[in-house]
Symmetry: C2
Subunit: 316 residues, 2 copies
């Protein structure tokens, strides 16, 4: 498909509800691409504007470069449009980040979500800038659009205001946005104020409505794997100016909070396994452990007091 | 070379002063294997009992699996005995850890130094155990000896007493030791008391003498890249029962503390570049940055008040 320039630009201005996709596993802990593609298609059918492959929720850092490349190729071959994808490519090793970013763009996926290199802590903004700059320059493709991934609780390496400023100055066409998984609205607010040209995505739907009202792009939220429709309902109510946007937000937030009492990835895999009647979905790759039955029942109890609708998880 | 069983066992009981080896870089940030091999040979000539490749000091996590495998092969081909090597193989991705560990053993290097998978934080001991267990079982080679790498300040994932106990129980022949880079003597002391059959290496020469006196194996210490002889002098004085062991320890500790006021890897690369008159040595891979001239001069000033002897760094 040849897109017109204006359509092209529009499609790159990522917005709305994006879902990082959980990665189902084979019994040998390899990626189950068939179930993955089904989940990706289901998420789009549930109303997600786009999908993030290989963020935290995808257990991405537990997979090798080769495993990540192979899955992306299968996803695109299955007919999921690269325009709907944002591919996680930020690794500890500069050479891995270059290889994955180049591969994403070569596969037609112009949007990448990049963690900073996250083993060495306390690195300077200048050093982190050099790392991102090496990736952008080595890939050397003007089609590339980078979304910076700020998740200090897990990475231990914040994407600071100073680092973003260095990158925006050096690569104004390439740096397109930020996923802010700090969980702190004050930080998201700072990014919105300081970088109005960037697409700022809070990393949780709990900030979806606040973000949209403040000029944010939407959200990239893990729990859309089990409640995409709830987040989409917030977005649609806001888009249409409906007065029930706040009600929709409260419903989505209540569900999110029930899930947040458990480890997010095992908890959502548990829910999908349960409502799809597909126990294979429970498997996680070490160092994670599958949600124990008792915790799963606690989760189901908590969700029963919300608007959560497990029947939606079925794939027909 | 076919070793006798008794010699074989003895050589596996790693002890003494082990040096993680700094990785010099080409201008394109690729590994400079020629300078690396020269540094490795120099370290052995300076008295190191063995070398750790691809720990923190080697900037290991900034290199891809392919880069790490290629360098190890060159090192062994250059004639450095695999018996003198301990190879860092612990990555975030289970499949990468398996690949590197299998490669190390296949290359004749039975000792590996393994970080836990370090992206996801707050994982249970059981989940971390499963990760190590998968590596040991998939490699499936009884020759393998695993040294666990505890460096919570950088990894964010501690190797706890409980995790070590699970691993020692499950793999008593395989789990051989711990590198404790916590920097806390109380933790090293706990490991020595709790796991007397393991080779416990403090991650700094500042604890070398205390460790040896308490039954420790020696140390695996970054700053042996510029002061191997100082650490070796402590070890030799202790071995011989000489009364100047404490004096040697104080001298080594004083040098270490001067270096510790700067980022360790750039600082040591600066010193080697300076005393070898080889500016190429200053290069680091992002996200690190080379030591600035001013900081380098501060470091030289501080070292001039110690027993540090830069002339030793020359390679003839």
């Amino acid at each position: 498909m040849k897109a017109s320039p204006s359509h092209h630009m529009e499609s790159l201005a990522a917005h709305g509800v994006w879902s990082p996709v959980l990665v189902p596993l084979q019994p040998d802990l390899g990626i189950d691409s068939e179930r993955f593609i089904a989940q990706a298609q289901w998420l789009l059918a549930q109303g997600c504007h786009g999908l993030a492959l290989f963020g935290t929720t995808s257990e991405a850092n537990s997979f090798s470069v080769a495993e990540r490349k192979a899955l992306l190729e299968e996803v695109v071959e299955a007919g999921i449009s690269p325009e709907r994808l944002m591919v996680g490519t930020g690794c500890c090793a500069l050479t891995d980040s270059v290889e994955l970013t180049r591969h994403a763009v070569d596969t037609g996926c112009r949007r990448v979500l990049m963690l900073p290199p996250f083993y060495y802590k306390g690195m300077s903004d200048e050093g982190l800038f050099q790392s991102f700059a090496e990736v952008v320059e080595r890939v050397g493709n003007p089609d590339l659009r980078v979304f910076l991934y700020h998740f200090p609780r897990l990475s231990g390496v914040p994407v600071t205001e100073g680092l973003i400023a260095l990158l925006v100055d050096a690569f104004p066409e390439v740096v397109a946005g930020v996923k802010d998984s700090s969980g702190e609205w004050s930080n998201t607010r700072m990014m919105l104020d300081r970088f109005p040209r960037l697409a700022i995505f809070p990393g949780s739907e709990t900030f979806l409505l606040d973000g949209l009202r403040a000029g944010g792009a939407g959200c990239i939220t893990a729990t859309s794997n089990v409640n995409a429709s709830g987040a989409r309902a917030v977005f649609d109510a806001w888009s249409a100016g409906h007065e029930d946007a706040d009600t929709r937000q409260t419903a989505a937030t209540t569900i999110r909070r029930a899930i947040d009492r458990h480890p997010g990835i095992p908890a959502q895999k548990f829910l999908i396994a349960r409502y799809r009647n597909d126990p294979a979905w429970r498997t996680v790759r070490p160092p994670m452990t599958a949600l124990a039955d008792e915790a799963g029942h606690d989760l189901l109890d908590a969700l029963s007091a919300t608007e959560f609708d497990g029947a939606r998880l079925a794939i027909h």
